[in-house]
Symmetry: D3
């Protein structure tokens, strides 16, 4: 081996060694990953996300993917010649739309299964119907009926524990049933949060099209790396956190309050954002943690 | 209770008691049920079939459902404005058709999960992609390329054993992957047969739109109740078994040759055909069994 | 199959389907059955009772039989040329009588084992001596010494859990030992109640020669189908429940108070009374339940 | 402690230490003990036998007792006013006799259970009916029907393994059932041999009223300590082994041929004969072993 | 066998039988044995101690040996040409001394392993470093630095439970690590006490060069056989317990207060002192027990 | 994060991803690492080796370390004022030398345990005496007695399986016992080879002071990356492999012949040589493999 080749591989070894304390800390810990947005549209990014999650599995984590359906649903609704209906500017999920949404979400689900299996890891794709995982109640938008959209009322974690037990990577699509066994669509962020809470997961990570929480929403350089629950509440009160970030941060706070140790808002558009957040001492998104938990800087 | 009421309930008790030896004989035995045809179209029949399978599960069997997609696939192909292509009179499953087929089959899959869960039994719906259950190779029709239609090359039974272990009723849709992880449609009869063989299931039951094997195909009264493998071969040779029944009976023979104890061809249009075949001493379809296995008449 | 034959088997299937929710509800639940009276004398009834219990076992219940010795004991006492002694009108169980009682009870025990084994189900017959199951103290009748008759002081449930674990149907004869390891006879109702309480069984069923609790003890039509604990206490206070029914109902109340969910007083002279009570929506005896438990009518 | 007291306890310690290699060698090995004859009649001897077996259990062996009914059966037959019948000088076990034999054997069985439980060890008394342990066929004596006397045809060892698993000392009374579930008496030596063979027990010990195999049957000092199978066969051929010892030695040979490592014929009238045979280097009965097994002298 | 031989073996059997209740009482109980002093120097005594402990293991106890290094450490320190340093009359364990101490203790450890293995029992020798068993903090003597001598701060019992689970006899040398993973020597009495407390062992036995607690320290005949915690405290207060016995008795009291049932101070110079204390009704050392525990006399 | 920082972390992620297939391939595989030479002398290298092995453990391998004692033994022999004896130029391991060797090896053993524990991974240091792991016979050098040096005769793998089961990293020092339980030193290469063979380890890696097998022993650039068993034999025959490399390569051949999949000769002086060999597609030592195994180039 030439001297320069040697230096290259040596650096590789050092990276692996650097990952050691992180691998150790999260050994056999559950991490729920909400996977959606651009990271699902770009075929290359998709490959990388799946590789990252598979790596987490192989080095000892217990990851669970909860995915959305992205723009594919809208595409198929159009293909089927259906006209989207809106109430208060919100799309209404009537029965025919729900049918298509379920079909598309399950197709996306199995395509993720395929990608994981291709990497030699056993995966099992389920919806919230399997094992009665996600029990929902109808959700209203300011009192308006927006169709088959549900809030998670109860999570029966048995099927997830069973699949983890048998060493599968569970991949969940956010569909649930109400008490009368009707089918409902669930917001993927909500489903992931409910599942992470029910499992008291060690981590919950949102992969979305946002760099994280910004002090100045127009300046990506103003990213806040870590946020305690009380800091997050202050930022909500003073209006810094608003718009689409508001429900996401509220989910984070709820998760922390319900036993999840740390929640990450990551920019899914950055390759390997998941690995970078977990395995390096410079996270690239925003981590939300409880007020009395140790900060990254102290830990790392 | 009035005398007549009493007599009614007494008769009920006797039926339960009559079922006792059958329950006993098949305790913890695997039964693979291919579910398709009319029994999937009529909502009432669907309910009854699911009730039957759930009962089998509750009294100690280990049933596995393998289902088809029925006419729903064609419906959605049309809805999506696609033009079916044919080669040699056979529909070609090109990539867009495969996409729709996968979506529809998964939707059907989850609707069956819902029905089982509603009856209070844990179900898990999977496709042949999950846990890499069904590995296929491209199938040709007389040398012609008919698209993404596959023959089962290998069955990785781990996921089925895992789900049975954890007490789920597995519901399988007949989609598989080739060695390059492309998606293929599989004939549901073939998928069920391959799975039953790989598991060396005790029973394999086909629920289809046929009364069973007839001596005279135009006379339903000529139903043959039991058929040994060698008898079946004779009937194939002399042309009695032909047409659509031919591949079905060949599947039966293959299943028996590969360790399945008994295969049943049942008329899914008859309510409770499954229970009737298993729990009464007068089967209502055709049972195929190996040459040296005891006949029903002797057993019952 | 002829049309009428078909109708017959179809009805059978419906009965099985009707049993489904009951099978489901009691899956893996423990039911202690006190078996005595006429149901033990008539050879045909005996067969039917054992079939019923075996069916309960096969469809997923965990039944335990506690039996009496019926009139056989008296018969053998006479055969051995012994003269029964009485105090206050009560038979005295002196040592020689106890010897015969133990022999007869064990013989009855093994005859029940035989009947269950003949149906292909594993049974194990034990007395309260095995695994030190029933620890007793001497019982007095109004202060009079009536010999080796005991009250259950402690139940060591290990042997029952062990046998259920290994999938046996335990059959128990009501003999116990005091702290000095002397042998005592126990009233079968008392033994069954003590065992059901110690196991916090889901159900306790008394099969005896009584239709159940009657409003008017001379009118069998006045049977009370369901009785809450407080209703039962009222009926005791106002004298409706009296005589031989009094200790039985007191046992029922004690069982409910100690964690048994529901107690049934059944007429063992009616064929399949056990199945009828459990699997149909019209029970044929009296069920005692706690004040805040849901009534049958609501459940069924 | 005085000097002499000290010496006494010191000697005790040495005895325990001396037992160490034997305890080690037989750790978790199954030993089937046929218990009958005088050792069952004398109350003191009975206590000592049970203590010995319990000690074996506590130091790690897995003992199983198979007992006879001794003279108690005859006593009760007389008590019941029955007249024994004989054919060819052999008592005939008609149905009423069988009933009494079963009652008496079960009573003896439970009295042994009591003695073991009193020593703080869990016992479970079963007959060959429980778990269908002993399946028999009718035995004839020189072609004559001698009633319900059976030869063991099959041993279903599941119940013994289950009880040993759960840490019980199984106590078996030699009653079995034929294929039609009729009750049969079995010679206790035969039952013990059949069980030891089916379990491939490490040891089988007969506690009977005989010092062992004698070279000169009239001289107790001519006891043969060890006998290989081929030596035993020679002694049978040359007539040294005859009379009541003949079937016993034949059982021993059969046991060795079927996988039992060593069979002991012990004089049950000698206190602690079992412990002495196992824990000291001077056995006090006759040991039968296979031709190629190491002799005691070499082992000890 | 001659009459006198017979009597000898008979007595042996009686000794074994006499041990029965003790074997029973301590079945699967953990006993921590601190092994040091003369019992480690005399090769014959060493053999006997190991035989005793091995016997305890074989008859069902779960013994754990914690040993000291005796005079071997000093010997090797001299051999290495090092000059012992003293502060306040106490030897200082500087780094080179610690190195030698660790080497010697591990050598002693493995020599004990050898002796146990030679008796056919699986042993595993560990130090407090393995599995991070013993976590210590620096110990000071009246404020003076005496080098690498530690107090046990925390016991991670996992490795002991794991070894007992897998049926090893764990042999522990009293070396631990502080939070910075420096190596420390620990007093063997302290290590044994800490381990017994952490395991809530049934028994803790000190084998040392002392007959036990004496009323009059100059009169061996004044040995106190049993001492409750409050009695021990009184004897400390009134000065009866003093000198080297003081810390030992304080350890005993601490052990009892932390869940150990009974602590024994034994004279390791007496052969089989361990067996004698446990298996005879006349202990030969001092037993410390909690105020409300039953006395020996009552138990035995 | 600045652009350049980002690039750095991104590269790190890619290295981790690149490791994925290797992690996958060796998941739960046993790798025996012989650790000796310079890599044990340099404190920094030691840290790095231990980090590498710990990483292997954390990502799913089951590593076992077998270590030598390096030059520490000679140092202590001198310290103790002993004069080394030689026969045929070979050092003789007399009893006093063996004593010191054992002490030093155990000290080294525990220092490795400390290093692993410090990284948060459970380790257990054992010698070949524990669990009777290494049974040896005396080794002679050309017929000359060289003292307590042994060849491995038998490996009792139970203790290694037990420790791996309970999730420890076993660290073994190469000391064994002969049939008379005398202590012997074993060459660390031999011990590692014997252990790898007995476990049929997936990999055996020698970390020594050699770059691997060279075509021209004076030219480090002539390193042979892969060598089949038959190629290795040719190189032995033609004299290319000679000197100190000869026994090492013979060990490799023996290991492959006995079921080890691949043996690696690595230069322990290169940092992370272990990780580099396993996780990169350019190994840095020589790999020996069976003739019919796939080459690296094909696999990677």
């Amino acid at each position: 081996m030439r001297q320069d080749e040697m230096q290259t591989v040596m650096k590789k070894a050092e990276v692996l060694i650097e990952a050691l304390p992180y691998i150790q800390r999260f050994n056999r810990k559950i991490i729920v990953i909400k996977y959606g947005g651009s990271a699902m549209l770009d075929e290359n990014l998709k490959q990388e996300v799946i590789k990252d999650v598979t790596l987490l599995k192989l080095v000892g984590f217990k990851p669970i993917i909860v995915h959305g359906g992205g723009r594919e649903i809208s595409g198929w609704v159009k293909k089927a010649g259906m006209e989207p209906k809106f109430i208060n500017g919100l799309r209404v999920t009537d029965k025919p739309t729900m049918d298509i949404a379920e079909m598309v979400l399950n197709k996306v689900n199995k395509s993720l299964v395929t990608m994981v299996e291709r990497l030699g890891v056993k995966a099992c794709g389920i919806s919230g119907k399997d094992g009665n995982l996600l029990n929902v109640e109808k959700k209203y938008s300011d009192g308006k009926d927006i169709g088959f959209v549900g809030n998670v009322k109860n999570v029966d974690t048995k099927i997830l524990h069973d699949l983890l037990d048998k060493d599968y990577l569970p991949i969940v699509c956010p569909i649930g049933m109400d008490d009368d066994y009707n089918t409902y669509n669930i917001n993927a962020d909500d489903a992931a949060t409910a599942i992470a809470e029910a499992l008291e997961a060690d981590k919950l990570a949102f992969l979305s099209d946002t760099p994280g929480v910004l002090k100045d929403k127009d300046d990506p350089a103003s990213l806040i790396s870590e946020l305690s629950v009380s800091e997050a509440k202050s930022l909500i009160e003073d209006g810094t956190i608003e718009g689409g970030m508001l429900p996401k941060v509220k989910s984070c706070i709820s998760a922390i309050d319900n036993g999840v140790h740390r929640v990450h808002i990551l920019d899914g558009r950055i390759e390997h954002c998941l690995l970078l957040e977990i395995f390096t001492n410079k996270g690239i998104g925003t981590a939300i943690l409880s007020d009395n938990e140790e900060r990254y800087d102290e830990q790392r």
